[in-house]
């Protein structure tokens, strides 16, 4: 049973990846895609596949897997099933950073601004997380950070140029489409490395689920563990948000789907399961964005929210003790 789940998850990714390359406003056959990938002949097919669809597919895979991994790590760290990069205000922090530089006209500084913004909010949450005992208060904290940043962003917008405003609004809708192959591969490498580092910590993560006191007596240094989680999630969520915008819900929802499918709570299983599911769901969401009928594609956040919001409602209604 479990082996079948792994095989399906692993097979789903190349299948969805292939569909990403085949389908679109100009449908291509398998051999056309293959020759476009192998021949650098500057034909239309080559441009479509290599310059547009390939980087998009790589980014969707890396973004989905990376955000899902961040969601898992944050849910474990905060002992909170509703934690995730978008819910806790981390992507809002990135938005604030990006708004500040974009609206000031410094388009080149988007990446560091997003990374700094998200890291600052994550740091703030980790500092006060001890005072926020319940799941709901952490959630409300994230919401308030979201309101605060959006009001600051609105104020910043008053003095901004039309072009700057436009690029900020588009960034805010989220997209896997704006990267080139090199940037996509960078994202994929980062996600892969983060997954390996997280996997090396899988026992510590398991121990951490037993509670902070027990973890402190079972060989896990709270300070060190906090820095490790802060570094992985801040870096991965920050960089993905910088490139792809504040992608909603993927980080929160995918770990729950993986737990439901694999029926396991240990991180040796969950980390690969969540990363693989995230990659597949990232690809699937991007495919839906590019579905025929949408003139310039659906905004990514509209699709991920459609998938993710019901998961949150489900988790709250079920009030699961185990997650």
């Amino acid at each position: 049973m479990n082996r079948i789940v792994w095989i399906v998850a692993i097979a789903l990714i190349p299948a969805l990846f292939a569909v990403e390359l085949l389908l679109g406003s100009v449908p291509l056959t398998f051999s056309e895609v293959l020759s476009a990938l192998t021949n650098n002949d500057q034909s239309l097919q080559h441009l479509i596949v290599v310059k547009s669809r390939l980087p998009r597919a790589i980014t969707a895979m890396a973004g989905g897997g990376g955000l899902a991994l961040c969601g898992l790590l944050m849910q474990t760290y905060f002992h909170n099933p509703l934690a995730g990069p978008s819910v806790l205000g981390i992507t809002s922090g990135a938005s604030l950073g990006v708004a500040a530089v974009l609206l000031a006209g410094a388009t080149g500084a988007v990446l560091p601004a997003a990374a700094v913004g998200s890291l600052l909010v994550l740091l703030l949450i980790m500092l006060i997380a001890n005072r926020l005992k319940s799941q709901v208060s952490l959630l409300i904290f994230g919401l308030m950070i979201g309101y605060l940043t959006s009001s600051v962003v609105t104020i910043l917008q008053q003095g901004a140029s039309k072009d700057a405003l436009r690029s900020f609004v588009f960034w805010g809708m989220g997209s896997f489409a704006d990267l080139n192959n090199g940037e996509g591969l960078l994202l994929l490498t980062m996600t892969g490395l983060a997954a390996l580092v997280a996997f090396a910590l899988h026992r510590q993560l398991d121990v951490w689920t037993l509670g902070n006191d027990i973890a402190a007596t079972m060989g896990v240094s709270r300070r060190r563990f906090t820095y490790q989680i802060l570094l992985i999630t801040g870096l991965v969520a920050g960089v993905i948000t910088a490139y792809c915008g504040p992608v909603a819900f993927l980080g929160l929802a995918v770990p729950h789907l993986a737990r439901g499918i694999w029926q396991r709570g240990n991180h040796a299983t969950l980390i690969p399961a969540v990363v693989l599911s995230g990659m597949a769901i990232g690809l699937a969401c991007d495919l839906i964005c590019r579905a025929p009928g949408a003139e310039s594609g659906f905004p990514l956040n509209a699709i991920t929210s459609l998938v993710g919001a019901p998961v949150v409602i489900f988790v709250i209604l079920k009030g699961r003790r185990v997650f």
């Binding site: 007596t217 060989g219 003790r321």
Partner: protein, 229 residues
């Protein structure tokens, strides 16, 4: 040997006078006192989770609070009073984590069997009852194979027959040479002839922690009454 040197504990300033005592291995140490007197805080201090407000805690000449978590996990195991309802780990996984945390290996199946947990092995720890979870956490602490075991009201969620077998297990550990420090309200389970109990009676208000050394159950009970008033 566990050595408390002028140890003071508390959250904001020390509530009680400095406490000094040497605890030899193989002792049963009882923490007595009313709710809120500081039993849990003392246990969390002894386990290294929180630092003492003053004084030192030493194990074999080494200060417990400057050890790394890894070093401490090999010496001291701790079972808290709160249940960990958010973990998705299975009972078997939790017990094997105990051995992992101390860098040791153990026969998990045998441990599960001796704690009446075999039929729960594949259940998630968040899905079982509080009493069952308490037994799992004890088995997990034993899997750490430490010389000191600290427990905060470990029998609070257990039914009468479970308490009885739990105490039997516990007394066996003490006989085998483990030092067991626990806060408890049911000393009636201790056999009347159990030798050389140490009891620390924590007063409800500030003052001196009363130390009883080498007493039997009757001796503990006499003081138990006076402390609970």
């Amino acid at each position: 040997m566990l050595k408390l040197e002028n140890l003071q504990f508390g959250h904001s300033g020390a509530l009680h006078k400095p406490l000094s005592i040497d605890i030899e291995s193989g002792k049963l140490v009882l923490l007595l006192g009313t709710n809120g007197s500081g039993k849990s805080t003392l246990l969390r201090t002894l386990s290294g989770i929180i630092p003492p407000t003053a004084g030192m805690l030493k194990y074999d000449q080494k200060s417990v609070h400057i050890m790394t978590e890894k070093q401490r996990a090999k010496i001291i195991a701790y079972v808290g009073s709160k249940q960990t309802s958010f973990s998705g780990l299975s009972v078997e996984e939790v017990v094997s984590l105990g051995a992992w945390s101390a860098g040791k290996s153990t026969d998990v199946a045998a441990l599960l069997a001796s704690h009446d947990l075999l039929k729960l092995a594949n259940k998630r720890i968040g899905e079982i009852s509080d009493g069952e979870a308490q037994k799992v956490m004890l088995a997990r602490a034993i899997a750490q194979q430490t010389s000191i075991l600290l427990m905060d009201e470990p029998t609070a969620f257990l039914d009468h027959p479970s308490r009885k077998s739990w105490w039997n297990n516990m007394l066996q550990l003490v006989t085998d040479g483990k030092t067991v420090v626990m806060s408890t309200h049911d000393i009636a389970f201790i056999p009347e002839n159990h030798p050389a109990i140490v009891a620390l009676c924590i007063p409800a208000t500030s003052g001196e922690v009363i130390v009883l050394e080498n007493v039997d159950r009757a001796g503990v009970e006499r003081f138990f009454g006076s402390v609970e008033k």
